[in-house]
Symmetry: C2
């Protein structure tokens, strides 16, 4: 299993081949064995295969080729709606209209999403997470017709791999594990943890392509900009309010 996990790759290019709904449900069933808070299973998954629906969703994922090219898209949603309805049908008054409950449901949802991915990869499928989900969760919510207490948390594209990419780099475990207490990073630590990235040819190329001086500047000035982060923060907070998770 460790060898399998250590060799996984995110797949962004898929064969045209469909993924059978029976297989998707089998993978979801295994994913559903992940730990869940109080066995409440506070998630729902919306499977998108229909071309018209995909075309509606595409702009919310910035029309990424990965999205457009994928035969299947799964939107994993934090869902207290179903549980609340169960409470109401059973003479109980739910008290989940608050931020903690959103967080609880989001955690449940992400454990299922990741277990789904590992299950899918073990069956020869490839996946890619779309971070755009939290950017445009409000628009995705409208398109997928999500009711109150249901918020998209992440999206996965799924299909049979049509590429075999190299393993991407990772900082070493020593760079992110702490024993007993968090030991903050000084200048030398940062160099020790991240330094190897500066030496990578592909990063040098990436910096040049973006007309920047350092790799970090590509992140702060091009890929994940403050103004965008603030704009999408506000949109997500407004969605939490609209869906009933924040006053």
């Amino acid at each position: 299993m460790l060898k399998f996990l250590n060799n996984r790759r995110t797949i962004r290019k898929y064969k045209e081949q469909d993924v059978d709904n029976g297989l998707i449900e089998k993978l979801l069933e295994a994913a559903g064995r992940a730990s869940t808070t109080g066995n409440m299973q506070l998630y729902s998954v919306v499977v998108t295969k229909d071309e018209a629906k995909k075309a509606e969703l595409a702009p919310t994922h910035f029309n990424q080729p990965t999205f457009k090219n994928a035969p299947v898209v799964l939107t994993f949603c934090a869902d207290y709606n179903r549980f609340n309805k169960w409470c109401e049908e059973n003479e109980a008054v739910p008290g989940y209209d608050n931020f903690l409950s959103f967080l609880t449901a989001a955690i449940d949802t992400l454990l299922v999403a990741q277990t789904f991915c590992i299950a899918a990869e073990s069956e020869g499928l490839g996946i890619c997470y779309l971070g755009t989900t939290t950017y445009n969760a409000d628009k995705i919510s409208d398109i997928l017709n999500l009711p109150d207490y249901v918020v998209p948390v992440t999206t996965i594209t799924l299909g049979y791999p049509d590429e075999a990419p190299e393993l991407t780099d990772r900082i070493k475990v020593g760079g992110w594990v702490h024993y007993e207490e968090y030991k903050d990073y000084d200048s030398a630590d940062i160099k020790r943890v991240f330094g190897y990235k500066d030496e990578m040819e592909e990063n040098k190329k990436f910096i040049a392509e973006n007309g920047k001086k350092t790799l970090a500047q590509v992140f702060t000035d091009v890929r994940y900009k403050k103004a965008d982060n603030e704009f999408f923060s506000e949109a997500f907070i407004n969605l939490l309010k609209k869906k009933g998770f924040l006053k």
Copy 2:
């Protein structure tokens, strides 16, 4: 793999046997292959084995026997601190002092946490997630000495299993998968999805023990109460502000 995932159990009772740090780091290494936003790896893990440190943490997890009994505890933290420092060391101005960035880091963190659990289980270890982490994240943060831009998201207890519990129930995939659009649940759907729970002997016993009329009331009136959720919501939001993720 599916068989393995379908048969996993949460383990709450552990042998006294230590878990070797070398093995923990091997598992973390495999976990670190999980997808991560822009390869930023926005997480840190604090490993707790020291009895004094465990005793400090125990009340934040309500002194659960699972916590006290575990030889190892891992606190998984959303971490923008390391990345921010890297930016600052590289002539870049980080713009991650906002809610979206917390959410991004929390997602990264949970994918790693869940991959770690699957890796650990595949090596014969047992795990239990502690939902108390988001309740007392502020106190945990103080005890683990977490700096700004680092917030605990989940905790896992780890050890060699000293119990062999039954599989817990799950609602069927048909109860939480939707095709193309979310189909909201009516009264009959709720009965179809959750109805089996009412028939379970252990649930009938659980309802009686708690002096309630329905299982849902045990959740709303005993286990996950509105007043508690609101109290812990405020604490977590305050922590996000304190750590720099919310204005």
